[in-house]
Amino acid sequence: MQKYFDVAVIGAGHAGCEAANAVAKMGFKTLLLTLNYNNIAFMPCNPSIGGPGKGHLIREIDALGGIIGRITDQAHIQMRALNTKKGPAVRALRAQTDKHLYQETMRKHLEKQPLIIMRQGEVTALERTKDLWRLILDTGVSYEAAAVIIATGTFLRGRVHIGSLSYSSGPQGQHPSIALAENLEAQGIKFKRFKTGTPARVRKRSIDFSKMIEQPGDWLEHGFSYWLPWQPRTPVSCWLTYTNERTHQIIRDNLHLAALYSGAITGIGTRYCPSIEGKVVNFPDKERHQVFIEPEGLNTDEMYVAGLSTSLPEAVQDEFLRTVPGLEQVEIVRPGYAIEYDVVAPEQLSTSLQLRSCPGLFTAGQINGTSGYEEAAAQGLIAGINAGRYLSGEDPFVLGRNEAYIGVLVDDLITKENNEPYRVMTSRAEYRLSLRQENADLRLTEYGYKLKLITDQEYEAFLQKKARIQEKLRFLEENYLSPNSPEAIRLQEETGVALQQKTSLQQILKMPEIKLSLLWKILDQERSPGEEDDVLENMVKYQGYLEREEKMAERLLKTEAKKIPPDFDYDAVPNLSMEAREKLVKFRPETIGQASRISGVSPADLTTLLIWMTRNNQP
């Protein structure tokens, strides 16, 4: 049996799978451990992947050579394009997946990787031995690895609550991970307690869909992945229904029984995925809340009841579910529950997702205080890449806030006081128009190739695509329409836009009324494959805005270039405010840019810091 690995990944959830894949692709021998071999890439919550922000993350991971996009495409049973009319920055894909198919596809993919050894086994302790980490399993077996990525999700000291029923457990009846949490704590790693929850699963044949509104999927021309040929499936529908005053009354009447309100739960929940009891309490005036019924898969009768996450006793769940139109006869398959778990206090992390105090020890995923599959996968990829770079003695791979949502996510994690599970949102991105879903490859694939996560073949295809776009851009710049040409006349017929003078196609495309598809039609030109026309159109149409973001980004980069030494003595700096001093000591920002994003650090504090650093001749 192999005993030594370059990298060991603890946890085969969304973060762990992505991490292991990246490390192996970079050429390192990788051990991937999971508590249960049946539950690789298990989705404890919604069967849905993507949406604004989250879908952007998937595209970015895919552009860098990660796998969540490919697996989602293969396991989808419905795909929707969201925000199609709200502008290029926020357009996003969202998939409904078959959970079982997703797991199977991921498992098969990882099983095919020659450098990955994947097995079941609970890590109970980590020990530092000289330059290596020893991982000790519950069975007494042990391994050694030069770097370790902990991606244990919600398992660390997991505790499930259903009304007054409460027991130690991982999600959905899985083992909790207690020994490892205690072991890490003993090594000085600080945890805080978060909580999340999930709704009941119900039986399909007990639902009256005639009382609900059908939510069909879209037939799309592309999925998430840039690399995998897109194979659309006949979309399976979801269903929309609503709660009502009766539902809310039952919940209010039983609030004292909800673990969230009885005081049984001390962990902090997230505003981003509230429980139904939270919604009823916090928004008493809202007359109804949306409920989406979503299939858990094609080969199961289980349906997911999105919107009704709860910690109420099962009997109450049953009662309030039956007030919802279409669920009058509902049969619960599994009750909803809340789960509390340990997360690493984020100020211990550096931008590489390495724990500052433990060389070679990385954390990724929900353990870092995030919520969501996509957020977990993004961190898994970054931790994987950086574990690899750590092994080869290279500088960490850090994406800027101006380059990717992944950059925004990691930066937020390490500079923000996170008081609740973190979810990515487009409104967190300052450079939202630059970070579009359709241009993720143009932003990131170059990196992916350099990191060896993108194959030569993929890279070749990427270069060709880029060249095609460049060529078309030149075509638009160099070709003109004259006012009375047949094309201009057709343009006017179609759009009412009358050209006053000879105008370049590029200028014409900038007009709000003109779509690129229309231009191609008028010019009798073929549309470009995939989303290439979208890239082109957005580049031209939003040039002014994009240039503005670029200018902003230049300022950002200047502040990011000013590095703060890791052992910088903040106490020596006079005139820093108390609050700033405390926060700076706690978060230990790596650059002035990061420092500027820590709340409580004012511009005056930054200037003070800068002056002090220069005065002491620090770079």
Partner: protein, 462 residues
């Protein structure tokens, strides 16, 4: 993004123009001595290699082209020993503003950055040389040049502009938050954007910003003092007028044309409004080198003035040069017809007929006739008929004015975008940019607040 001043070395003229015979340039920052070495030379012309601390030395300042600008005295404070706490080089030159400006330009060419108002004090504060209260007092109160300006500074300290801007920010957040929420949660039920209504709301905010901006120049004048230039042919009585307005014999007056060779500036209080009156060399063609230089400087200073008083002599015919001066004036010209105690050759009526756009005031520097009216007219041109007691909220800083202008431009673009069916993501980008600009006045962190408000206002997520 939070703003911060870079750590560059800053330089500025530290005496207001016209104050005494010498002028001071201060250069503060790590590069002060290096810049000094570049622009200063020993009186012998040799390079300066040693910088004994706080010892007064004689030297020459060189222009970037290598010509001598001025003979000066200078001294260096080492880091930690100066007013700002940084390395600081002080150069004392010969008073003329243009001269000082040349020295300053040389320092800037050598790598210094022009200091913003109050920046020396700010650095002093940041380096622990002053506490915050002292620093603010220095910047906002000591600089106040009249009682009214002092009042305005006090209002500022109490944060009234900030309060008004915050109110506008709140209104903008209310518009932006539902848009942002819908962008991030397309499948939740959030009321859709009603374009026309939103455009109307933003238009109201734009108007409020326009109102604030309408007073900004005046506010800045109150804080920084207006520059008023006395211009005209030699011997028309410019210096006499300055003395009259000041109420003291500040400038030499002679019957010889071309008496004033360099300009002289004095600050006067026009019923609460501080104005820096600048007497200049009379504008005329001349072979005298010194006078020629004076005329050049006059033309330069006129470019920067808030107001130019074109002084004419009632006892003489109007010359083509004078006519040109009135016509080319970039502001609404204010013609001061002096020497009206003499038999009239040039009359107010004649001037009014010739320059219908101009305002003409008849005065006599000799008898003092018309001077009260002149003061009132200057004040009115500078800040309008306003009585500032009615306008407690004033923009008094260029930085604030620029922030308001930026916000206004973004909001106008939103209004336009709303009517042109521009997509929500772009509207949000401009709304955010407007909020970021206003945040430079109020110090509000926009991103965080948007997210907090989204979840406070809407029930989102499954």
């Amino acid at each position: 993004m939070k703003e911060m001043s870079e750590l560059d070395t800053i330089a500025a003229i530290s005496t207001p123009p016209g104050e005494g015979g010498i002028g001071i340039i201060r250069i503060s920052g790590a590069e002060a001595a290096r810049i000094g070495a570049q622009i200063l030379r020993h009186p012998s012309g040799k390079r300066i290699t040693s910088w004994p601390e706080r010892q007064v030395r004689l030297g020459l300042v060189l222009s970037p082209e290598g010509t001598v600008i001025d003979e000066v005295i200078y001294f260096l404070f080492k880091k930690g020993r100066s007013y700002t706490g940084e390395e600081l080089l002080e150069i004392q030159g010969h008073g003329g503003y243009q001269n000082l400006k040349k020295i300053l330009n040389a320092a800037i060419k050598a790598g210094a950055r022009l200091a913003e108002p109050g920046e020396f004090t700010k650095r002093a504060f940041l380096n622990g040389r002053l506490d915050l209260v002292q620093a603010e007092a220095v910047i906002d109160l000591i600089r106040a040049k009249t009682d009214l300006a002092h009042q305005v500074a006090l209002t500022q300290l109490r944060g009234e502009l900030s309060a008004v801007v915050q109110e506008l920010e709140d209104q903008l957040f209310e518009i932006l938050v539902p848009i942002e929420a819908a962008l991030d949660y397309p499948e939740d039920d959030i009321p859709p954007l009603v374009r026309e209504q939103t455009a109307n709301k933003i238009t109201v905010i734009c108007r409020r910003l326009e109102e604030l901006l309408a007073n900004a120049d005046q506010g800045i004048i109150l804080r920084e003092a207006a520059t008023v230039v006395l211009a005209g042919r030699p011997n028309v009585g410019k210096s006499s007028l300055l003395n009259r307005l000041l109420g003291e014999e500040r400038v030499i007056v002679t019957p010889i044309p071309g008496t004033t060779r360099d300009f002289v500036a004095e600050t006067i209080d026009l019923d609460g409004v501080p104005a820096r009156l600048i007497d200049t060399a009379g504008l005329r063609e001349s072979d005298d080198l010194v006078e020629k230089a004076g005329v050049e400087r006059t033309k330069e200073i006129m470019k920067e003035a808030n107001l130019i008083l074109v002084v004419l002599d009632a006892g003489e015919e109007l010359t083509p040069a004078e006519e040109e001066m009135v016509i080319n004036s970039k502001h609404k010209p204010l013609i001061v017809l002096n020497k009206t105690d003499l038999p009239a050759v040039l009359t107010e009526e004649e001037l009014k007929g010739k320059f219908p756009a101009a305002q003409v005031l008849s005065v006599s520097a000799k008898t003092g006739a018309g001077l009260t009216a002149l003061k009132a007219a200057i004040r009115e041109v500078l800040i309008g008929r306003r009585d500032f007691e009615e306008h407690p909220v004033l923009v008094t800083r260029l930085r604030h004015k620029e922030a308001l202008e930026e916000a206004l431009a973004y909001l106008r673009s939103v209004v336009q975008g709303l009517s042109r069916q521009q997509s929500e993501d772009l509207l949000a980008i401009d709304l955010r940019a407007a909020l970021e600009a206003l945040g430079r006045i109020t110090g509000r962190a926009v991103s965080e607040e948007i997210i907090d408000r989204i979840f406070a206002q809407f029930c989102l997520g499954k």
